[in-house]
Amino acid sequence: MSDADRRLTDDLLRPLLTTSARFWVLVAFLGAIVATGLGTWVYQMYWGFGLTGVRWPIFWAFYVTNFVFWIGISHAGTLISAILRLVNARWRRPVTRCAEAITVFALMIGAMFPIIHLGRPWLFFWLIPYPNQRGIWPNFRSPLVWDFFAITAYLTGSVLFLFLPMIPDLALVRDRTTGWRHRCYGVVSLGWRGTTKQWNRLETAMEIMAIAILPVAVSVHTIVSFDFSMAPVPGWHSTIFGPYFVAGAIFSGIAALIIAMALLRTFLHLEEYLHPVHFQNLGKLLLMMSLLWAYFVFAERLTVWYGNETAEMAVFRATQSGAFAPLYWTMVVCNFVIPFPILALKKTRTIAGCVVASSCVLVGMWLERFLIIVPSLGHKYLPYSWGTYRPRPVEIIITISTFAAMSLLYVLFAKLVPIISVWELKVGAHPAHAAESVEARDDEQALFVARTEP
């Protein structure tokens, strides 16, 4: 066992200890894009928000779309790891950390957009409740303040949720390295030894975190949906928005996770640990969410159409047959028409298939957010004040750069931390643990075979 363990450890630590030129090229490339994005933001702050395509009456557009989109992506981690951790599904083990990392980074990026989209970003801290010389506190009736609290809680939670199970692995790296790296990992591993007491506390803590983080995750995207449903805007003011957004968030989250895993698998040669079966299982989840999404969209559309309320119908037509129809139907194709068959058939539910489906879903879900925001704002009650929106370069550049930022953060993370939890895999590999579910057992054997083949 121990040499199998050693090989496992070596495989998983290799990316940390050896660095290829390709890595630096990638970092430089992504870094350049991110820098451009930040520069663009400064440029926009300097000249004024008017550089965007935002206009009367469409006061929210690309930036808020990105906000919702990234917060949605962030639901990958918590769902996968927390739920699977609670039900103790064994196959989760290699997946959890990639997922939680996505959560944290997506949240960081998403949380930036409410600031980027402010007219006076330098005053964003006025949302924070603190005793101040203005003698005025934030308005707790404002969904934006709810956002602030929800995102704070969620971000803190997920960072810790990601960090705690990392400690033993960091200690592992500490013991495997020398010099300044040794010292750095020594600090971040908080002097972890691995006494039975520490192990027990850690496991318990993770259990509690898993229980706590789930409702927070749900609340976060519900509150994001409240940003819209609280306002009397046709197409926004709907009770379905909470669950609708949560489902959409998980949907896009899983898609993002699948793509991330596929990339890691190829670039870090983790074929032995990330298995077709993982993609199979995530693919099934994605399929379920796709159906759920379709169900929500149908329910929402039907209600509007049947109700036939003037203002609502204006938005309905704009998206169904009007100026936004091309985008709308692209969304439907990307979120349902393509993913459904691919994921429904076991034959096509391969790694490649899952990646294709997930990519479509990411596009589709971004469009969905855009189509929820812009057409409604462009078709409010008084037709005189209707308007249409075109993005301007600043918005496009900043949007692109956020995807680069996500990739960059992920690359660096995979470079500094074992992207797959070493100790959890070891536990999983431990023969003494009788597998709970049939699926899990196949899974374990699969891993075993994989490791003892050569």
Partner: protein, 166 residues
């Protein structure tokens, strides 16, 4: 000050060593077992389970709830500004704030408990061996009070070599 320990390849032998130490009259809490993975299924691994962590988390949550309640009430009354015909202290929105802060405090208190009870962070501990990260299991004692030979007999079975730190 000194420490005595031995390294074992597998949990079974570690368990045996622990048993022999107990037999040698070493108190349970003096025995330290260090491994690179948890061994819940072994007796030495299932010592001092911390069930009370849930209660601490709950307490943290309660504190958070109270704090959020105070924060919302106080600030809304501090400068009562009517908006949208809503009441100054608007319960529905405040519930959201209260929920989020409750969860936040619960999480934080959990982590705090973890760090305190697991004695983290701390500088590099005395009783440790790099071999642990290779999958060896360390069984040993800090500042042994029992006679060394007794401990040696207890630890040098199942291929455990005695090591001492001083």
């Amino acid at each position: 000050m000194s420490a005595v320990y031995a390294l074992y390849a597998d949990p079974e032998s570690a368990q045996a060593a622990v048993d022999r130490l107990r037999a040698a009259g070493v108190a349970d809490r003096e025995i330290t077992v260090i491994s690179s993975e948890p061994f819940e299924s072994h007796r030495f691994g299932s010592r001092d389970k911390a069930t009370w962590m849930f209660w601490l988390a709950g307490t943290g949550g309660a504190v958070g709830l109270a704090f959020a309640y105070w924060l919302t009430q106080m600030t809304e009354r501090a400068w009562p500004l009517p908006t949208g015909g809503m009441r100054i202290v608007a319960t529905w929105p405040n519930l959201i704030i209260m929920f989020e802060v409750t969860m936040l405090f619960a999480v934080l208190s959990t982590v705090a408990t973890l760090l305190v009870t697991a004695q983290m962070p701390r500088r590099r501990p005395k009783l440790y061996d790099l071999a642990v990260s290779d999958g060896r299991i360390l069984v040993g004692l800090d500042n042994p009070t029992a006679p060394l030979d007794a401990l040696e007999r207890a630890l040098t079975v199942h291929g455990g070599q005695l090591k001492t730190l001083s």
